[in-house]
Symmetry: C2
Subunit: 299 residues, 2 copies
């Protein structure tokens, strides 16, 4: 169970990074802010993004502290995005993974600052020497991360998602695919591309892994849309779930359940095909398994 | 008037960076989010931080696009911090530089995301090749920036400031100095240290410039506290200003006006002394002038 092993190692490293002692250049780590950041980052989640980064680097024989640090940076970004998305002004969610959201457990100001702190810490980690010996790799990891999660990536995707929610007109498939590629796809793709960059992938390998990451990211989001729609249908006996109630832009809404399932399975096949084309052989078995897991998961 | 020249160049470069076309790795720049980021970053402010970075780099003969990009990254961080600090859950301000704040001109979700976008874009800029030819310098600029503005710097300082506001007990001078060194001092210090790193300062020069930046940052904040207290006294005829009404932790509150003025002037002298000790001679005249301007400004 590589997923469980990586999740455990990620949790331990996150705990280690979020301690009260200061790093050089820091002046103090205020206790309540640190507590809110720890609450947001620790004790939950499948750690799928760290898993993808760690397993991609492992294709090239790279393992250890540096890779795990980069994986934790990525997870901090994911956690920050959940904290800000849950705020009353955004999705206004009170629960996350069965616990009160950060603004409920602390307060709104703490949630905004904890998110800002986690986002900033992620860049600290990827730029710092223990992550990779080569500063050119660290600068690249920083730049790739910023592109994946900024205005033209995750943050932009969240902005499009909020705008779409307010619309009366039906969403178009092209818009939904773009929004999802930005909001969730970009960070999953980064996980794979960061692992490839750290491991020193050649051009062919890099292209194959980018195809894998893009297809996996898209499959992940369609699977999410399907789970929301199916889960509510079966468990609550109503026609559609939370997404539909909110007029969320989802691929189930624009394609219907049957077509969305076909799309999901085609994307998973495309992801696995990309690994084969990259010539990684049996070594890529864990990543192929991750693609299958992504489309077959029940939560 | 170097301050005016740098402000103009900063404005033009910010405008250039915040255009609708995508950079490699970005998928789309959503129009409304981009508009909120432009509203937050353009058309205002003295651009003191860019000025300090540009003029410090100029001590070493370094000028041009790369330095200006780093200066814009810094200014984006400053602007993001104002947008988030103005939010209803934080300082709840409706006006900034005489215009509606971002959450008033757009909405709260847009303000949160615009802040996140500007913060992220800053790291994109410092890590990207046009900022400096040497990736080791870019990785250092990233790391130094993250330390200055994260949990142990600016974000932590804002958290301490909000906590202090809620307290009934008088604030202590040591606490106020720490909070201010984090909330405003760290970013001003970064401006100077980033300029020194880009310009290739030696150890002695670096130490002198760090002393200059730390003293200038502290002087700037005491001057701010004094302006708030004095401004209201003279204009409104009451004993203390907005800071006192909010029980804000300021040096005027803990030292009184007369001692705060002495402190401010001593810090300005310390800043100018540091430049002399660094052996920069007449070349540092512009920075010394900046220290005098900081303590004598009226707004």
């Amino acid at each position: 169970m590589r997923l469980v092993a990586v999740a455990g190692a990620t949790e331990a490293m996150l705990d280690n990074l979020l301690q009260p002692h200061c790093l050089p250049g820091e002046k103090d780590r205020p206790a309540r802010l640190l507590a809110a950041m720890r609450y947001a980052a620790l004790g939950g989640g499948k750690r799928l993004r760290p898993f993808l980064l760690v397993e991609t680097a492992r294709l090239f024989g790279l393992e250890g502290e540096g890779v795990l640090r980069a994986a934790c940076a990525l997870e901090m970004i994911h956690c920050y995005s959940l904290v800000h998305d849950d705020l009353p002004a955004m999705d206004n969610d009170d629960l996350r993974r069965g616990r009160p959201t950060v603004h409920k457990a602390f307060d709104e100001a703490a949630a905004i600052l904890a998110g800002d702190g986690l986002l900033t810490y992620a860049f600290d980690i990827v730029a710092d020497a223990p992550t990779h010996a080569d500063p050119a790799v660290r600068a690249d990891l920083t730049l790739m991360l910023a592109r994946a999660v900024g205005l033209g990536g995750m943050v932009g995707g969240q902005a499009l998602d909020l705008e779409a929610e307010g619309r009366d007109t039906p969403h178009e498939a092209g818009f939904v695919a773009l929004m999802q590629a930005m909001k969730t796809g970009a960070l999953l793709l980064y996980a794979v591309e960061a692992g490839a960059r750290m491991g020193g992938a050649n051009a062919l390998q890099k292209a194959a892994l980018s195809r894998f990451g893009a297809a996996l990211g898209a499959a992940f989001q369609v699977a999410d849309d399907i789970l929301d729609a199916e889960g509510d249908e079966e468990a609550l006996g109503k026609r559609a779930g939370k997404d539909a109630d909110r007029n969320k832009a989802t691929l189930v809404a624009v394609l219907g359940l049957a077509q969305a399932r076909k799309k999901r399975d085609a994307l998973a096949r495309e992801a696995i095909q990309a690994l084969e084309d990259g010539g990684f052989g049996d070594k890529a078995g864990v990543l192929a398994e991750a693609a299958r897991f992504t489309v077959n998961r029940k939560s």
